[in-house]
Symmetry: C2
């Protein structure tokens, strides 16, 4: 854990302060090998075996040496040269053919979108966006998201031309191959320069809303009349598929409500989706829908070569400060392919040798595969000094800011670097058995209010259940269009959009710690975004209350059953079910430290006692004994509980001890963290010799065999719930002290 | 299985032919007790212990006796009496106070919506809708869906006044109590008269789109110039919460595209959601959005007592035949409550005695709790003879139709009754080891094309992946606005909407067998709807292809890992992972029979051989040996596989046998079905004596302990996938014959 979190800190602090991010601009595959990715807190199995990786650590290091020089000498070359129309066309075709050639070599991928979107891609990366290719993590960079992630060769081609070390020619040649930095969909954890992980449609636009929210929030908090220290745009390209997904309507409705003026979305309107012409399923008026959502809309009718139309649209979009802008750009999918353009055939498979030749012929492209013409190369090479100069200029600006506004600068640094103030965890509340009984959702609110005061990047909210999830931070107001400096987010009843937006906030800067909330059962509505949190290493904290039949009368539509197990099986996410105040505080401690691994807290609606023996340290181990009257690690009986049922296990333990049994009561608050402990520790909790084990949890018994063993028994719920007062349901379902005792005796 | 499916058939056949549905109009809790709900195919644990249930079988039987008589004498009294304005107001207040009183007695529930929506509720159930309260399952009834399910007391009050046997006064008095027919949210499987299960927001409107699609499809297929045998409307009330959910935008975009003119939605525009005024998160222009989605929109400005406005809006909506209509009805939540109306306070909790008195005072309601004034009662009592007459008239109409169009009548009967043609399962293809290797997604297409020809209610489609999921029925065209008689559905990239719409189709008539498809990993986008399929006993068939890392280059965003286990843990759904053609056919056979239990088929993208030993009969048991060279049920080694990994297990088995071991290879195609077998059968497959067991599955190893036992080993994937050719990933992840052999030897 220490290693991993300090890695984060060092890397980003470095990026932030000196702008030297090259250490992270290489493909991370190798870097990951050298970090404690399997440590107990932010651990995840390595994505590649050590033998595999096409990344070039050595080369990157050599390049980095020259960087300082380049940057220094580049400061005066800030004015952007624009290319001649001819060179623009040539550059656009370079992008098209790099994409065509990579897909062809892999014989797998999606050439259609890059061929159609190359013009807007070129204008964005060559003329509009501000970035430093040698430091992909420069704080004030413009963000770009390819929501239509299947078209990732567009993005890889642009990063390659722009001079990112993460995408060299050899990387393009191993597109979609084992261990490459150019996987089949954009993955931020593999390819510096990729901001978020896309592919599942609609996620990217929701991430972009989160990125733009983060910028608007930081600008409002930290900019001064005499110094705009936060000032960047979020650009996104989305397709028909993204537009059809409900998550994009949810996120875009919020973007309009929040007035995210620096969010500029390009809708690649090519009329083709996988099943053919969009006429068969998608005939709504998209622009009118966005007008209704409070966006500014523009239509570029010729996206294939209407460069000036695209430029004008971006200019117009930038003049609209109080609304996000949707630029509908009508393009031809597979533009340039004489026989496959404007058809599904070019969407998701290689063109094939014959059609590649025909396309070269058609676009007058006589070059070999992967070739970048010298004039194109030399034009784009200017982005290295320009980018370095942009960052150097900003760093100088920040130094002035820091002198004049030292406190604000310190806070902003924490958010931008992920460096937490020493001792932040001491703010977390602790409890004794005498502390009043309370619902863990209320105890959670005590924790997040405590953290809000010591962690400047801590912000979040609920999907219209703040008063049930108990997620309001009392020291702050609502983030709204006109109060963007505030930190309580109001997502409305939009769980999926909430998750995608939280991922975007989290991946904007390493010091952002977004939390979001709904009823645990409604994770079913946002699972797509939660899985992307886990995959893309976005340490979102999911505050999920009403975590069982304990919610009572609302009934089976609202009562989770299989949800705990379904998340325990998901990679790189920690499923917590705390039993009381100390355990809830422990979950938050780990959730905050885990910036690269999301946490889910399943919290009770009902009151629970503060149990003797619970502790933050125990939670850090995932599972531990809260009471034990055995000696020599040979208890007669082991009772295992989680969350609201730990109390039942504890009471049953007391009764059984009265009858002379030696009983160990174990809290298994996080299976993932427990599995990451040493075999010795595991044996110390679950000795092989003690086979009389009973678990109790108000959820599916699925998977409990791992801890009860073949001779033990799991008490749980393997059916849907029911509508009745909670106590009645617990009794009818046999989740009682009596049943635990009887079951234990039956073993 | 037999018992359960025949119960379905008998019940619905009865409803359809004689209109006598009273056997099902009682609260089903008792009925369920008498049916084989735990049988292997449609089994689900009973929802109530036999001691619990407030339902009144006896009473219902007595009432039913009189039914025939009532109906006979009622034929001539068809003209609807409309109440005086005064009586309407009185009826509306009856609805309000029945809701207030029930929530108050339960001290739990949502009084706000019923108080605000009582006027539209009254007009729908008293003046507009055509139904027969004594046969809630009458085929040609108008459908009503309360998408804002938390307001269910509105619906219960209406069903009570309308004379449904499922909601008597005593049922209102046990609202939200254990075993009642009036649970905390509307549940079709508990309360006859409730069409679908709502509460999770947005599901209801998507269900309504499915119900309206079903009507439009049947009308186009079966109506004749001289006989409109299918002719009913779908009405739905949805609130701000439903409107914010992405699923509702997905479903409503399709409703507009399909031109579902008989879908009429009432948007309860009360400006209040749980977190307060919708101003904080929901400021889009909803009506303009629906215009953009291709709906006809109307605004009723006074929904609190503008009865004529509401009536006029419905009249107008009915004149628009080619578009669904969204009537925005501005109401006051908690109308009538002097101190809590128009506030969150009245949304989700009882008013409290003092405020109930103040509300009675304010609305001049001097009656006791649960009292229905005589004139209101006698007015509504007319719906019993009227409804019986409506159904009798339709039955007479159908008799004529049957004489003139016997073939169509027979098909329609099958759809309306769920009675399948004898021997339908013989249409399923069978395979031998010599049959060509093929991907199970292609074998699935062979099955669904075969079934389409013998099952008139079989229809479905994909979320824009038809050409990848292989779900097109070749003998039919696309269901579109102008070709609604066709049976291929084009959902666009709208997984969640697809699931909700499929539930609606399924619950329209018991003979509908909808299937829907996407990549298995994208079940994360539609899990909310899939869980409602399971809970609401909608036997949807989910065709989920690209079911593992076997999809290759698309990478981890597209590769399911935890999905199999996450559905195995979900109640009342069957998770299948067939290995070849015979197993795929077996899955379809069970999927079709299970009209009250949804099925998920996880299917491969890659080619698989036709394995010796696989069979439809084997699939029916969930797990079975496909090969075994042991005697006396004591194999040295048991190798367990599912889907694409069964081939690996089989090959490893052959190798180990060559080395003299006795090996049993088991296909565990459905864990749920296997768990429902007898202990004897389970022992015959997994003898306790044979502890050397190895499982192999390209997914999470979670839960496999149940079958490998503590001494066995599970080979699987407990990390995210990777982007590379499938063969390479299988090798790198150790999903190989060599690894299975080595692991088996290590035991």
């Amino acid at each position: 854990m220490a290693a991993s979190s300090s890695l984060t800190v060092q890397t980003f602090a470095a990026n932030f302060i000196s702008g030297n991010g090259s250490a992270s601009s290489q493909c991370p595959s190798n870097r990951l090998l050298s970090t404690s990715r399997t440590s107990s807190f932010s651990g995840k199995p390595l994505r590649f075996s050590s033998s595999s990786s096409s990344c070039r650590t050595k080369k990157v290091y050599l390049q980095r040496r020259g960087l300082g020089v380049t940057r220094a000498s580049a400061v005066e070359t800030l004015k952007k040269k624009t290319a001649t129309d001819e060179l623009v066309e040539k550059s656009v075709n370079t992008i098209r053919f790099l994409s065509i050639d990579a897909v062809e070599k892999a014989n797998s991928g999606h050439p259609g979108l890059p061929m159609g979107c190359a013009p807007m891609g070129h204008i964005l990366y060559d003329e509009v966006m501000r970035y430093n290719p040698k430091n992909p993590y420069w704080f004030n960079r413009d963000r770009f998201v390819l929501s239509a992630g299947h078209g990732c060769m567009l993005h890889y081609s642009l990063l390659h031309l722009a001079g990112y070390d993460s995408v060299k020619e050899e990387d393009l040649k191993v597109f979609r191959q084992w261990g490459s930095c150019t996987p089949g969909h954009p993955e931020n954890f593999e390819t510096p320069g990729i901001e978020v992980t896309t592919g599942p449609l609609g996620q990217g636009i929701a991430n972009a809303v989160g990125l733009a929210l983060a910028e608007k929030h930081l600008a409002a908090r930290f900019n001064k009349p005499d110094c705009e220290i936060v000032d960047h745009y979020t650009y996104v390209i989305l397709g028909d598929g993204c537009q059809m997904e409900g998550i994009s309507n949810e996120a875009c409705s919020l973007a309009g409500h929040w007035g995210l003026g620096k969010l500029i979305a390009f809708y690649d309107d090519n009329h083709i989706s996988i099943d053919g012409d969009t006429e068969i399923a998608f005939t709504e008026d998209v622009s009118s829908r966005f007008d209704a959502l409070g966006w500014h809309t523009i239509w570029v009718k010729n996206g294939n070569n209407g460069y000036d139309e695209i430029r004008a649209a971006i200019e117009e979009a930038k003049t609209v400060k109080d609304k996000p802008t949707m630029i509908k750009v009508t393009t031809t999918i597979g533009y340039g392919s004489p026989n496959k353009a404007n058809s599904y055939a070019v969407h998701g498979s290689a063109l094939g040798g014959k059609e590649v030749d025909a396309t070269r012929e058609n676009l007058g492209w006589s070059y070999d595969p992967f070739f970048v013409p010298e004039d194109v190369k030399s034009h784009w090479s200017q982005h290295t000094p320009d980018g370095a100069a942009l960052e150097a200029e900003w760093n100088a600006k920040f130094s002035k800011y820091e002198k004049k506004y030292s406190e604000d600068a310190a806070e902003l640094k924490q958010i931008a670097s992920g460096e937490f103030p020493a001792g932040w965890e001491n703010a977390l509340p602790t409890y004794t058995p005498d502390s009043p009984a309370d619902a863990t959702r209320n105890l959670s609110q005590q924790c997040l209010n405590a953290l809000a005061n010591v962690l400047p990047g801590f912000l979040g909210g609920s999907a219209d259940l703040a008063s049930s999830n108990m997620t309001l931070m009392k020291t702050f107001g609502d983030f709204q269009k006109d109060t963007p400096e505030e930190r309580n987010l109001r997502f409305g009843v939009r769980e999926h959009g909430m998750g995608g937006i939280s991922n975007g906030i989290c991946l904007h800067s390493p010091g952002f710690i977004p939390y979001c909330a709904t009823f645990f059962v409604f994770t079913d509505y946002m699972r797509g975004a939660m899985r992307i949190s886990a995959l893309s290493e976005a340490g979102v904290i999911y505050v999920m209350t009403h975590d069982s039949i304990g919610l009572g009368e609302d009934g089976p539509t609202h009562q989770p059953i299989e949800h705990l197990i379904s998340f325990r099986a998901m990679p790189n996410i920690v499923m917590f079910r705390p039993a009381d105040g100390n355990e809830t505080a422990g979950c938050y401690k780990i959730g905050v430290i885990n910036r690269k691994r999301p946490s889910i807290l399943a919290l009770s609606r009902q009151k629970l006692p503060q149990l003797p023996g619970t502790s933050i340290e125990g939670v850090e181990k995932g599972g531990y004994a809260i009471s034990d009257n055995s000696t020599g690690n040979k208890p007669d009986i082991i009772l295992i509980g989680t969350g609201s049922e730990l109390e039942i296990a504890a009471k049953a333990g007391d009764e059984l001890r009265k009858e002379g049994k030696t009983v160990r009561v174990v809290s298994l608050v996080s299976w993932e963290l427990f599995e990451e402990q040493s075999d010795e520790y595991k044996e110390s909790v679950f000795p092989a010799a003690s086979t009389a084990r009973v678990s109790i949890e108000a959820g599916s018994t699925f998977g409990w065999e791992r801890y009860t063993g073949s001779k033990g028994k799991a008490i749980g719920i393997d059916r849907f719930g029911a509508s009745a007062p909670a106590g009645k349901i617990y009794k009818e379902f046999g989740l009682t002290v009596e049943n635990v005792i009887a079951t234990a005796k039956s073993l």
